[in-house]
């Protein structure tokens, strides 16, 4: 547990980087500090490893005032990841990762073995260990940065905008990786970002900072999106927070109907009576892999005896996984589907059923209460 008790940072020129911060970071969870530039989020983060000393107040880790600890020793027990990875250009990838173990006196052999394990943990090929940092892509460098921060197995991990210098696709991959790692490792992660989406995605708790270094709101992501405390937080989380909040509701509550799902070896006359009531039918193959939509109108004039597989279908867009996806994913699938209906599948991609925008609307309405 990391506690800020009235921690403040005032600079001699009168600038207030952080105004009296009172906040508790829970052990084993991910806490995100988010806010615009100049809101003191990075300064607050750096108070934890004494890279910034508060001018007033105290920071404690598990009850111990960090000013009682030697800064260098304190830092060896706290992992740190920064935006440009900060890898040492003159050391190989493997030795970069082994930095802290070597610093605390682990033998070179053991430190390198540990580094190789960590490379696999963060999704890097251990064969890359002998390369120099400049031979890696930005995303790979960042993975090395994370592995290096984890090398001495510190209980606390500080991450200062670690993914903001990579492109969106790579960033999403790194975020997934962090979520997966955190499920395995349960570190106390403090993560700084200016991107509210990243905060909502990664955080168990989110602290929103406002310019002037004040803490505006400290809450779970869901409550932050539902009940922002004031206009600043509301505008910061964005005006589409309603849609974004749907990420917190599971899609498995949606009623999936499979009476409009037909295998492609059926004949046209078998489905005509259903099409009379339902304008769109989903065609699947015998494994229940979706093939596409057919509309009621496209059946008009088609002679009997023709199989569904011989008809032209309308692409089904993308599906949502009923068990693990959120209402947001289901809504997205419905909005992008030409039929206005979302296709729900199981973990293996087999169709469980479809949900129309009406039914989706009812579900959205119920969670908006």
């Amino acid at each position: 547990m990391i506690t800020f008790e009235g921690a403040a940072k005032h600079y001699p020129d009168g600038t207030v980087a952080v105004a009296d911060l009172d906040l508790t970071v829970e052990t084993g969870r991910t806490t995100v500090f988010v806010g615009p530039s100049g809101s003191g989020k990075t300064t607050s983060l750096r108070m934890i490893n004494r890279m910034v000393e508060p001018t007033r107040g105290t920071v404690r880790i598990d009850g111990v005032d960090i000013r009682d600890r030697d800064p260098a020793l304190l830092r060896r027990g706290i992992g740190y990841v920064i935006q440009q990875a900060g890898l040492f250009p003159h050391r190989t990838v493997l030795d970069n990762i082994a930095t802290v173990p070597l610093l605390v006196g682990t033998s070179r052999r053991a430190a390198r073995a540990r580094a190789a394990e960590l490379m696999e943990l963060v999704g890097l090929d251990p064969a890359m260990g002998r390369r120099w940092p400049h031979q890696l892509s930005g995303g790979q460098q960042q993975r090395v940065g994370v592995a290096r921060a984890l090398a001495a197995d510190p209980p606390v991990l500080l991450m200062d905008e670690p993914f903001s210098a990579v492109d969106p696709v790579v960033r999403a991959g790194l975020q997934d990786e962090l979520l997966r790692l955190q499920q395995e490792l349960h570190k106390t992660v403090v993560f700084v970002t200016h991107d509210i989406d990243e905060a909502v995605r990664l955080g168990d708790r989110i602290a929103v900072f406002r310019p002037g270094g004040e803490l505006a709101q400290y809450d779970t992501p869901e409550r932050l999106l539902t009940t922002p405390v004031d206009g600043f937080v509301e505008s910061f989380v964005g005006h589409d927070r309603g849609v974004r909040r749907l990420s917190f509701f599971p899609a498995r509550t949606l009623p999936l109907r499979d009476d409009v799902v037909f295998e492609d070896d059926l004949k046209v006359e078998d489905v005509r009576h259903i099409a009379a009531e339902h304008p769109w039918l989903l065609v699947v193959d015998t494994d229940r892999t979706p093939l596409g939509w057919i509309s009621e109108r496209s059946l008009v004039g088609v002679p009997s005896g023709i199989r569904l597989s011989e008809l032209d279908t309308v692409p089904y867009g993308h599906t949502f996984t009923a068990e693990t996806d959120s209402l947001r994913a289901a809504l997205d699938a419905a909005v992008l589907s030409p039929a206005g209906r979302a296709v729900g599948v199981d973990g293996d991609g087999r169709v469980l059923g479809v949900v129309s925008q009406d039914e989706l609307g009812a579900a959205l309405w119920s969670v908006a209460e």
């Binding site: 020793l73 830092r75 920064i82 440009q84 990875a85 890898l87 250009p89 003159h90």
Partner: protein, 261 residues
């Protein structure tokens, strides 16, 4: 015409072959001059580097030191070398030190800014990462910042060594000067151009060889510093004679006044 050039070079070559080495008189001939030249130049460069590194580290650690120190070495560089040689003569006599001390001090005008620039161009995020991982100030300097500065330091060393090798010749005025003595005493006194040509050619060759050695040293010491830093660029192994970070360090080495002497 071409026959004249041919005869002339044949004459120079014959003179060099005839005067290369006299086993009965080990102090005479071209070879001892070459050995002396190497000794004086290399000792000066080594001592200069040994001074520049601690001074540079101190200037980075205590920034106020740098401007006065830099001004100091610049002023010193402005003092003609002949003057310094003669000023030292009463104290060091005709020992090597008379040449080495001034030449070592002159290298500082190139090496000191290079050491300082080299240390200052260590990217801030690298420094921050070192701090955050629990490197103390001294350990950070020795284990992170100095190694990262090596390419820039070697770039300075290349300029300084060529300049020094050329300047050693001037010390022939006080009876030292290696190959310079061929040029001065044998050449000018006798109104005979073969010694001058041989002296100049050997000085140039020595400068080339030294430069090549330094490039080799750089490749061995800093295999991580390649010009192909950009991703996607060609991965050819090219020599990185300059700082991996860019040109700023080179600019400061390029200001070394030419033709010192």
């Amino acid at each position: 015409m071409s026959a004249g050039v041919w005869d002339w070079s044949q004459g120079v070559w014959d003179w060099a072959a005839a005067n290369w080495y006299f086993p009965q008189e080990p102090g005479r001939g071209i070879r001892p001059r070459l050995v002396e030249h190497i000794r004086l130049a290399y000792a000066s460069i080594a001592i200069g580097l040994a001074l520049a590194i601690p001074l540079g580290l101190a200037c980075v650690r205590w920034k106020v030191l740098y401007p006065p120190l830099l001004t100091g070495v610049n002023v010193l560089y402005a003092v003609p070398s002949i003057a310094l040689f003669f000023l030292l003569l009463p104290y060091t006599g005709f020992s090597d030190w008379t040449a080495i001390l001034p030449l070592a001090l002159y290298t500082l005008v190139i090496l000191l800014p290079n050491v300082v620039d080299g240390l200052n161009q260590v990217p801030d995020h690298v420094r921050q990462a070192a701090v955050a991982m629990g490197f103390g100030p001294l350990r950070r300097l020795v284990r992170v910042e100095t190694p990262v500065a090596v390419p820039v330091i070697i770039a300075g060393l290349r300029v300084a060594s060529v300049a020094t090798i050329s300047m050693v010749s001037v010390a022939s005025l006080v009876g030292l000067g290696g190959l310079g003595r061929l040029i001065l005493s044998d050449g000018f006194r006798r109104q005979f151009d073969a010694p001058i040509v041989v002296g100049v050619v050997l000085v140039v060759l020595l400068a080339f060889a030294t430069d090549a050695l330094l490039v080799l040293a750089q490749r061995l010491l800093t295999p991580w510093a390649r010009r192909d830093r950009r991703r996607g660029g060609p991965r050819r192994r090219r020599r990185a004679a300059v700082s991996p970070v860019g040109a700023p360090a080179l600019e400061s080495t390029a200001v070394a006044p030419p033709g010192k002497g």
